[in-house]
Symmetry: C2
Subunit: 297 residues, 2 copies
């Protein structure tokens, strides 16, 4: 596509802050391409480069931020993921003290994985190619958050459902929204248990729009089947409870249900799940089927 | 089917104990029908019967136990779910102090839901009919467990995947296994957040067999796509970590991988999930796709 605006990978942030200066601007309704380094900042050149040896000031870059002209505090930013073009080589890293099983390993290890649209190869095992965006967010309300942390503004949510064809709804806390993204994965299991997925550089094409004067408290991703409410808090227990609470509140409001009915309906029809367990805030999802909730907005 | 053995709902237990006396016996390879009360012991007759008013000594009955002749300590019991015939009326209950949001409600509430094979009706919303077995287990190794609690022997795992066509693999701790089950749900969301699902009386038909001299540490349910390892521990964080550990160990052994490779492969390809968050032990699942693991045994 000609004339599409592009944000270069060289324009990136390491924290989502309330007062970020924009790397560029688009109008609502426009398509835009974000070029993104991998989550390790492209520092892994061979399998002898391990996480412990990296410059941590260059980990988790997010390309942007892009000012969305017309987006106002209190709106919802609507980000439709149109295309993900991945580099042909991903990396997975882990080591002692990392992930869900911090005591499992004695040494750091890196694997370089061939990435093809037919699949991702790990040793001699072919895994499905399921590209997704790990970090995506906007300027937060008050405090700043490192790009490795997720909260109400989005950030490092590491949610498989944020892939091609899905639509991410983010609350807008600052005029212009200030959208940034990166940390693309070629494949990831729910949990991202060893601390990384198949980390890959990518070009991300999104269309950006807004819902004026209306927003939810947490990011929501819409897929063909469901609305997935994404909640990121210090423990997975807190995140699961708050995701449940949000599902109850949305069903209560959207379907005009009594609180007890919304609670029971959530118990019967909403699936709680895990996005990731390894970042400073853990991310839970509450997935409401579209069959019972045609729209979350 | 004629001549199929049946275990009457009147033969039930409220705890899985190491030394249970059998209510009957079958041979390995036989089909058997378990008739089960609902999880509330059939005490709810109208919506004015609420959980707080029930006789708690009659909650969570599990029909059985059935001795499986030939099953020996150290085997795996293989329980294939062939048929679930549900009553046409389910109940959902919740109230103050219950579920993931114990502070949400001020009063107890009960709903009676029409159950049809076309769907389950909640108010004027039709939910999909997805019958599943909430409580299923065998005699544990040492301690007894109330039927409302899940652990290595199975029990109240409240896992949606234990439905028609799936196969549950349970470690056998006592000769004869002593299989019992109940707590059938017509539909449930992952989490079972309000403390109950659509609780319904049912007839459960299973085929029972064994894998001699070989068992896993926790129950595993096989569906058409995946092996789901089911771990139940006091907190969901512990359950998720142990489920991750089991996935790593199984991949390590079955695919002859180095530990670090099994950890990375789990991060890339295994989905952590939630079965339930509301029983005394919480149940997590680690789902390994059959595309990478043809057999967990």
């Amino acid at each position: 596509m000609t004339n599409m605006k592009t944000v270069s990978a060289e324009r990136h942030i390491y924290a989502f802050a309330p007062d970020m200066a924009p790397a560029g601007a688009i109008m609502c309704g426009e398509l835009v391409r974000f070029e993104a380094h991998d989550a390790l900042g492209g520092q892994i050149r061979s399998e002898s480069d391990v996480l412990a040896g990296l410059d941590f000031n260059r980990v988790n870059p997010a390309t942007g931020p892009l000012e969305i002209k017309g987006a106002r505090r209190g709106d919802t930013l609507v980000v439709s993921v149109k295309e993900l073009e991945l580099a042909d080589r991903g990396v997975t890293v882990t080591g002692p003290g990392l992930g869900v099983l911090p005591g499992l390993l004695g040494e750091h290890v890196t694997r370089i994985l061939p990435v093809r649209s037919e699949g991702v190869r790990f040793n001699d095992i072919w895994l499905p190619y399921r590209p997704m965006i790990g970090v995506i967010g906007v300027a937060p309300e008050k405090d700043g958050y490192p790009t490795g942390t997720a909260h109400r503004h989005g950030g490092n949510m590491d949610t498989k459902e944020i892939g091609i064809g899905s639509i991410l709804y983010l609350p807008v806390f600052q005029d212009g929204a200030m959208l940034a993204m990166g940390d693309v994965h070629a494949v990831m299991g729910d949990g991202e248990v060893c601390v990384s997925a198949c980390e890959v550089a990518a070009k991300i094409t999104v269309a950006v729009d807004r819902i004026p004067g209306r927003c939810r408290e947490w990011p929501i991703v819409e897929t063909s089947s469901s609305w997935h409410i994404l909640v990121s808090l210090p423990t997975i227990e807190e995140a699961l409870a708050e995701a449940t609470h949000q599902a109850v509140r949305i069903l209560e409001e959207a379907l005009e249900l009594a609180t007890e009915d919304a609670y029971m309906l959530t118990s019967l029809a909403v699936d709680l799940g895990i996005s990731q367990l390894v970042d400073p805030n853990k991310t839970a999802k509450a997935s409401i089927p579209k069959t019972i909730l045609p729209s979350a907005f």
